[in-house]
């Protein structure tokens, strides 16, 4: 009996020791985070084979990027490289790699992997969205030591580090040199490994991608869930139903579903400043359009004043949108005087149909005019069609006779190339939330760009007036200005030039919308400007860890 007491006491002590040594249950990784998405793109797990934004949903969990995010403000921040610096001559960038990083097979992540990854992304095989730009901008890559890599550029590339962040593009994603060289590209595509907080488990094309959380601390955060399944569920009402029943914890939604989500007492997250819905006026510089009303800047301004943006925000976007800043400019845009532009847009984007009518009269169109309007919606933003229809209605109210035509996005993009059918016409467009505005400006307005909204010097054309020439010059200065003060000054001038032209006019600043089951996922913050959650999943607590207020 004496021994029995001792044994019981011993067992009790052991039990107590275990209880104290074990991490609290809430801190352990458990459960499966199920995410329902409208698209998984090509569902390629090899970073060089995916060219569209959905990579930021399903590749981001397992791959780290050379440059990361600023999680609080949006824009870029430390990533695989904890810091980077521009050489004095401006012709190279040195990246300092964070120590202690490892691949999912345990190999260390070094500067050799960085060089290998970038060279792989630049290869001919790569369909990554900006691989050609990388080939153009990078002269060569040198490994200085295991934790330092130098990238020599062709000319000064002040925004190069930003292009290595998923906040801008996908080209900075890191791939394991040793593993790929050992198993080959084909095997890597079937069984990829990365260095991110989630390990790849399985990909079922057209259905889902499965992951398992890493069980060690990661600089992006250690996941609270043990597993994650990202599902492709194309129909929105089904996604919402799955969140309601608990079959999914999170689902991407559009503004139309907001009321249903709120009525179902689900949590709704709106990621701020993920896009701008804009309209373009095409070919206004062309000599054959000189008699077109939209060639007159007063008419162009009148079209903007005729739009009641607040009505669109309240009724089309269900209140989950805001007044935009100038074209492709957001609160987190770098080198941008955001306060100045917020103030500017408050006045410039006001609803003033009376002044709009006056401007039309001054321009010689008191009874309005005919305007071709090509409506379209970019992938992931079907509500653009409704915005376009509303804009057309507002224009009709000031006497503009809209010749409306709807285009499927693929057909519209083809139309944009020749621009024959778009001459002097208006169209809907969208620009995604990115911290570096200049890329959007150069691709939209430079005379050799695809959209070339200010002039055209492509294929022997010589349609580039003073505004066009000034813009071409200025945009080159922006990308080469090493002095931050000069760069900011040039960037703001570039924004001003486009804003005052009324050729590409923002309608609303949109958000990314998500329905969340608060019984499964706890409170978390998205990254401003980043609709996709691929870099956020590991920061999502379970409901038992952090409740929503």
């Amino acid at each position: 009996m004496k021994h029995r007491g001792l044994i019981l006491g011993g067992l009790f002590s052991i039990l107590l020791t275990f209880i104290f040594l074990m991490p609290p249950a809430a801190a352990a990784q458990k459960g499966t985070l199920v995410v329902a998405l409208d698209s998984l793109g090509g569902q390629n797990m090899d970073p060089i084979l995916e060219g569209r934004a959905s990579h930021a949903h399903f590749q981001a969990p397992m791959y780290d990027s050379l440059v990361g995010f600023n999680f609080e403000k949006g824009g870029i921040g430390p990533g695989v490289a904890e810091r980077w610096e521009l050489a004095k001559d401006g012709l190279s960038w040195t990246f300092f790699i964070r120590k202690g990083q490892k691949w999912h097979n345990g190999d260390p992540l070094t500067a050799h992997d960085v060089k290998f990854s970038l060279e792989r992304t630049m290869s001919k095989e790569s369909v990554a969205s900006r691989s050609a730009a990388l080939r153009r901008n990078v002269k060569n890559i040198e490994v200085i030591d295991d934790h330092t890599v130098r990238i020599n550029t062709n000319g000064v590339q002040v925004h190069f580090p930003a292009s290595m962040s998923r906040a801008v593009f996908q080209e900075g994603q890191m791939m394991p040199k040793k593993y790929i060289e050992k198993v080959g590209a084909a095997e890597f595509r079937k069984n990829p490994i990365g260095s991110g907080p989630w390990k790849f488990v399985k990909s079922v094309p057209g259905d889902r991608v499965e992951y398992e959380a890493v069980d060690y601390p990661h600089w992006r955060g250690k996941p609270s869930f043990k597993r994650m399944h990202i599902l492709l569920v194309p129909e929105e009402s089904t996604r919402v139903a799955m969140v309601r029943t608990g079959e999914a914890a999170i689902a991407s939604i559009s503004p139309e579903a907001i009321k249903e989500v709120e009525a179902a007492k689900l949590k709704m997250i709106s990621v701020p400043a993920t896009m701008q819905a804009v309209y373009y006026l095409w070919g206004t510089y062309r000599p054959d359009q000189k008699d077109n009303p939209v060639a007159d800047i007063r008419v162009r301004q009148a079209l903007s004043l005729a739009i009641d943006r607040q009505q669109i925000i309240d009724h089309v976007m269900n209140g989950k949108a805001s007044l935009p800043m100038p074209f492709a400019t957001f609160g987190y845009s770098v080198d941008t005087d955001t306060e100045r532009w917020r103030e500017w847009t408050r006045k410039a984007f006001r609803y003033d149909p009376k002044r709009a009518k006056e401007l039309l009269t001054e321009a010689g169109y008191p009874n309005g005019f005919d305007l071709k309007f090509a409506n379209t919606a970019l992938p992931g933003t079907p509500y653009m069609v409704q915005i376009g229809l509303t804009v057309a209605d507002f224009w009709s109210k000031i006497g503009v006779n809209i010749k409306y035509k709807h285009y499927e996005w693929g057909a519209f993009r083809a139309l944009r190339r020749g621009q024959k059918e778009l001459k002097g016409a208006a169209s809907m467009y969208r620009t995604a939330g990115r911290p570096i505005a200049v890329a959007r400006y150069t691709s939209g307005f430079m005379s050799k760009s695809l959209s070339h909204l200010f002039g055209n010097t492509k294929k022997g054309m010589n349609l580039c007036d003073e505004l066009c020439q000034s813009f071409d010059k200025l945009s080159l200065e922006v990308v080469q200005a090493r002095d931050p003060g000069v760069r900011a000054e040039r960037t703001n001038r570039m924004i001003e030039m486009v804003a005052n032209s009324w050729v590409a006019v923002p309608i609303i600043e949109g958000m990314g919308y998500w329905a969340i089951n608060p019984k499964i996922v706890g409170a978390f913050n998205p990254i401003p400007g980043r609709h996709e959650f691929g870099d956020v999943f590991e920061r999502m607590p379970r409901a038992d860890q952090k409740a929503w207020r």
């Binding site: 969205s129 153009r136 970019l378 693929g410 969208r430």
Partner: protein
């Protein structure tokens, strides 16, 4: 019969070549996949580079010759979007569709055959009116709406069945009902009208005069004859469903052939589109051939006529 099958197969080959050629050229009129794969601010240089990587920089007739020469060797190319062999993608999705379509067909036949026969036998009666209502509703109800209602009632409100996706037996219930409802209506009305025609025919009257039981008259003489037009409709529906159950597959997040075809069109994934349509055409040809053979089995007159 063998000669007949061989003749049909030869016609099928010609049809497949025609379909392939038309799809190859028409598909390319609708735009370039590079435009859809690149971000909005991609440059002309980015676009050209991608076009070269995708092998779309050669003249169209050269692309066609390459495609045909590869196709006869069984290589239909790699998907632009998925970057994997299109045949592999097609066959990874086909089983998913082949699980749901026969289930819907079985449901349709199990419901339509008895209801169609009873409606014809009790013409103007309560069952006839009831099945008529079911038929009108089944044909008029849009698939996607029915699917959403079923999800709302049985998944969201009652919690009895999963909302979507493939899985165990319970995952098949709602998609099967959604897909099968339209078929029930179609089959039922066709069986009813065929039965009415046959019930009124001379040979049925003779059978009755000869004293045959009503069960024998209905099940042996009438139904067998009534099934001939049903079989035709079955062939048409089967082919259509395998390739075109897009709505049901979308609502229930079912990764089948219908959705794959839709994605290939939307993303201008030429190799995938060509492969999917070629395979679909092949499937439809085989189904039709099967239907023709079954005709001969059900109605010996067809065999004798040959």
């Amino acid at each position: 019969m063998r000669r007949y099958i061989l003749q049909r197969l030869w016609q099928g080959v010609i049809l497949l070549v025609l379909v392939t050629t038309i799809v190859f050229f028409l598909g390319r009129l609708t735009g370039n996949p590079a435009d859809l794969m690149l971000p909005e601010d991609a440059t002309e240089e980015d676009r050209q580079a991608l076009i070269e990587t995708l092998g779309l920089d050669a003249p169209i007739h050269e692309q066609f010759i390459i495609f045909i020469s590869n196709a006869v060797r069984g290589d239909l190319g790699d998907s632009h979007r998925y970057r994997t062999p299109v045949v592999e993608i097609f066959f990874s999705r086909l089983p998913n569709t082949l699980m749901i379509v026969p289930a819907a067909m079985i449901l349709a036949i199990l419901m339509a055959v008895p209801l169609g026969i009873l409606s014809a036998l009790r013409r103007g009666g309560l069952i006839d009116k009831f099945s008529g209502t079911i038929a009108v509703l089944g044909i008029a109800t849009p698939n996607f709406w029915l699917g959403m209602v079923l999800i709302y009632v049985f998944s969201v409100q009652l919690g009895w069945l999963p909302s979507a996706r493939m899985g165990g037996f319970e995952h098949y219930v709602l998609p099967t009902i959604t897909l099968g409802t339209f078929l029930v209506a179609g089959f039922m009305r066709l069986i009813r009208s065929s039965m009415l025609d046959i019930l009124d025919s001379e040979f049925v009257k003779l059978a009755r005069i000869k004293g045959m039981s009503e069960t024998t008259v209905v099940w042996k003489h009438c139904l067998r004859n009534a099934l001939i037009p049903v079989l035709t409709l079955w062939g048409v529906f089967m082919g259509g469903l395998v390739t075109g159950a897009i709505v049901t597959e979308t609502v229930f997040a079912w990764p089948g052939i219908g959705r794959l075809t839709y994605e290939a069109v939307i993303f201008r994934d030429y190799p995938l589109l060509q492969a999917v349509i070629l395979m679909d055409a092949l499937l439809i040809l085989l189904i039709n051939l099967m239907v023709d053979i079954l005709y001969a089995y059900i109605d010996p007159r067809i065999r004798l006529a040959e």
